[in-house]
Amino acid sequence: MITNHHVSGLMILFTLAIGLLLTLLPLPEALAAARPAFYPATVLFWVLMQPLRFGLVAAWVCGILIDVIYGTPFAEHGLALAVAAYLVVQMRELLWSFPPWQQSLLIAPAIVAYEFVLFWIDGVAGAEVNQWWRWLPVLTTPLIWPLWTFLLERIAEFEVG
C-alpha cells in the first residue's frame, strides 16, 4: 500500500497526465462511448491513496482541466469529479480494507455520481444527450479499476519503493 508513503506531486501529475492521455486518445465512435474513465479513475485513486495530499479541491482542479480541454461549461467536470471524490472520501476506510477487485464495486457509485452530475448539468445547459450508452463508462471503469490501480501503484513504487 502506498497510502503510508509520501508520493511526490510530480509523480501524481505524471500519472494524471497518463490518465488524461488515455482519455483523449482518438478512438472510433463506437469504442469512444465505452471508453473507461481513466482520468477520473486516476484522480479517485489518488484521493483514496494520498488522503493528506490529494483531496476534494485537488479533484476539482483536475476536473476543470477537462473542462478546458473539452470546452464544456467551466467547472462542470470539476464539480462532477469533486462529488465523486467526496463519495470516495466518505468510503475511504472501507475501501482500504478491501482488495482492488472488491474496491471496484464500491467505486462504481462514485463513477455513477460523476456521470450523473455531468448528465444533469448537460441537461440544464441544453446540451442534453439521453442515450443509454452514455452510461457505459459506469460499467467499464470498475472493470479496469483493479488493473489500473495495480499499474498506478507499480508506477508510484518507482519513487517510494
Binding site: 506531486g9 501524481i12 497526465a17 488524461l20 492521455l21 482519455t23 483523449l24 486518445l25 482518438p26 465512435e29 469512444a32 462511448a33 494520498q50 488522503p51 493528506l52 495530499r53 490529494f54 483531496g55 476534494l56 479541491v57 485537488a58 476539482w60 482542479v61 476543470i64 482541466l65 478546458v68 480541454i69 473539452y70 470546452g71 464544456t72 461549461p73 467551466f74 467547472a75 462542470e76 470539476g78 464539480l79 469533486a82 462529488v83 467526496y86 472520501v89 466518505q90 475511504r92 476506510e93 448539468i121 448537460d122 445547459a125 441544453g126 446540451a127 444527450v129 442515450q131 452514455r134
Partner: protein
C-alpha cells in the same frame, strides 16, 4: 499540493486541520455553479481558459500522436495508392482549372453587375487552412478543435468551410488554437436560402452528423427533394452563397402547419482533417461584433427571414 488535501472528520490517523469534506463539497458545488453561470453569461473566464489550454497543449499533442504516426506510416507503405491518388488529383485539378476559367469570367461579370447595382459586396474572400486537432472527445457534441488561434487572426464567430460547403463556426479562440461548432450540432442553426427559389429559412442541426432539419417551412413552401441550400448571409455570421446541404426528404403531415424537411449537409463533416477558415471583406467589423455576441445569435437574427425579403442588399 499540500493545500489541496482534505481531512477525514478528525478521526483515525488523519486528524488535523478541521474543514470536513461535507463542508468542502458544498463550498465547491456553490463555487462551481457560480463559475458555470458566469462562464455561460460572459467571456470573463476566457483568459483563464486560454492560459490553461496552453498549459495542456503538450498532452493534447501527445494524444494526437498515435493517429499522426499511423497516418504517416500508412502513407509510407502505400506508394501505389499514393501514385493513384496523385493521378486522380491531377485529373481533378485539370478539370477544376477548366471550370475556373469560366468562373473567372463569371466573377468579373458578376462584379460589374453588382457595381451597376451600387452594392458594396465583394466576392474576394481570404481563407486559411486549419487542421482539425481533435473532434470533441465528448461524443455528444459536434465540436471540433483547430490548430489556428487568435495569433493567426482567427476570431469568434468565424465561418468554417471545407471543399464542399459550410462546416460550422468558431466558438472559442485561444492564442494557439480554437474550437468550432459544426452545423449539425443540436444547438446550432444557420440561415439558408433554397438556391432554386431564393426562399429563406433556417437549417438546424439535429445531433446526427448526416442530417439537418428545416423546421420553419410553411406547408405551401416550394421545396423539393434535391434542392440545394446555400447560406443566405443573413445574421452576418456566415458568408453568403456557400452550399450548406441538399434537401433529402420533404414530408407533409396533414394537419401540421409546417413541412417536415430533412437535408443532408454538403460539407464532409466527419471526414477529412483540413478545414478552411474564411475571412470576408468586412471581417474587421465582424470580428468586433462577434466578440460581444453569443454564437447562437444568428438564429434569432435571421428568424424573421423566413419570407423572401430583399434583405440581400442591406445585409451586404
Amino acid at each position: 499540493m499540500r493545500g489541496f488535501a482534505d481531512d477525514d472528520d478528525n478521526k483515525g490517523p488523519l486528524r488535523g486541520r478541521g474543514v470536513s469534506p461535507g463542508i468542502k463539497i458544498v463550498a465547491i458545488a456553490i463555487v462551481s455553479v457560480v463559475l458555470m453561470m458566469v462562464d455561460n453569461a460572459h467571456d470573463a473566464l476566457a483568459p483563464v481558459r486560454g492560459t490553461l489550454a496552453i498549459a495542456m497543449q503538450p498532452i493534447q499533442i501527445a494524444a494526437e500522436m498515435p493517429g499522426d504516426v499511423a497516418d504517416y506510416l500508412g502513407r509510407y507503405f502505400n506508394r501505389g495508392e499514393l501514385i493513384e491518388d496523385n493521378e486522380a488529383l491531377n485529373r481533378r485539378v485539370l478539370l477544376l482549372r477548366a471550370r475556373l476559367q469560366r468562373l473567372a469570367a463569371l466573377e468579373a461579370e458578376n462584379e460589374r453587375i453588382r457595381a451597376l447595382l451600387a452594392s458594396a459586396s465583394s466576392l474576394d474572400q481570404n481563407v486559411l487552412i486549419a487542421r482539425v486537432l481533435s473532434v470533441t472527445p465528448d461524443p455528444y457534441r459536434h465540436r471540433i478543435k483547430l490548430n489556428k488561434g487568435s495569433a493567426d487572426g482567427v476570431f469568434k464567430g468565424q465561418a468554417l468551410i471545407d471543399a464542399n460547403g459550410i462546416m460550422g463556426q468558431v466558438t472559442d479562440v485561444t492564442p494557439l488554437d480554437s474550437r468550432a461548432i459544426l452545423i449539425t450540432d443540436a444547438n446550432h442553426g444557420i440561415p439558408v436560402e433554397i438556391n432554386r427559389t431564393g426562399l429563406q429559412t433556417i437549417a438546424q442541426g439535429t445531433g446526427r452528423s448526416n442530417e439537418l432539419r428545416l423546421p420553419f417551412l410553411a406547408n405551401n413552401a416550394d421545396v423539393r427533394n434535391g434542392d440545394l441550400l446555400v447560406s443566405s448571409g443573413l445574421g452576418g455570421r456566415y458568408p453568403a452563397g456557400y452550399p450548406v446541404g441538399r434537401v433529402q426528404n420533404v414530408d407533409h403531415k396533414p394537419g401540421d402547419e409546417f413541412l417536415d424537411v430533412v437535408a443532408e449537409p454538403a460539407a464532409h463533416l466527419n471526414r477529412g482533417r483540413e478545414v478552411l477558415l474564411v475571412w470576408t471583406s468586412d471581417t474587421g467589423a465582424k470580428a468586433e461584433k462577434a466578440n460581444d455576441e453569443k454564437p447562437s445569435a444568428d438564429t434569432a437574427d435571421a428568424a424573421d427571414g423566413a419570407n423572401r425579403a430583399d434583405a440581400g442588399s442591406d445585409d451586404r
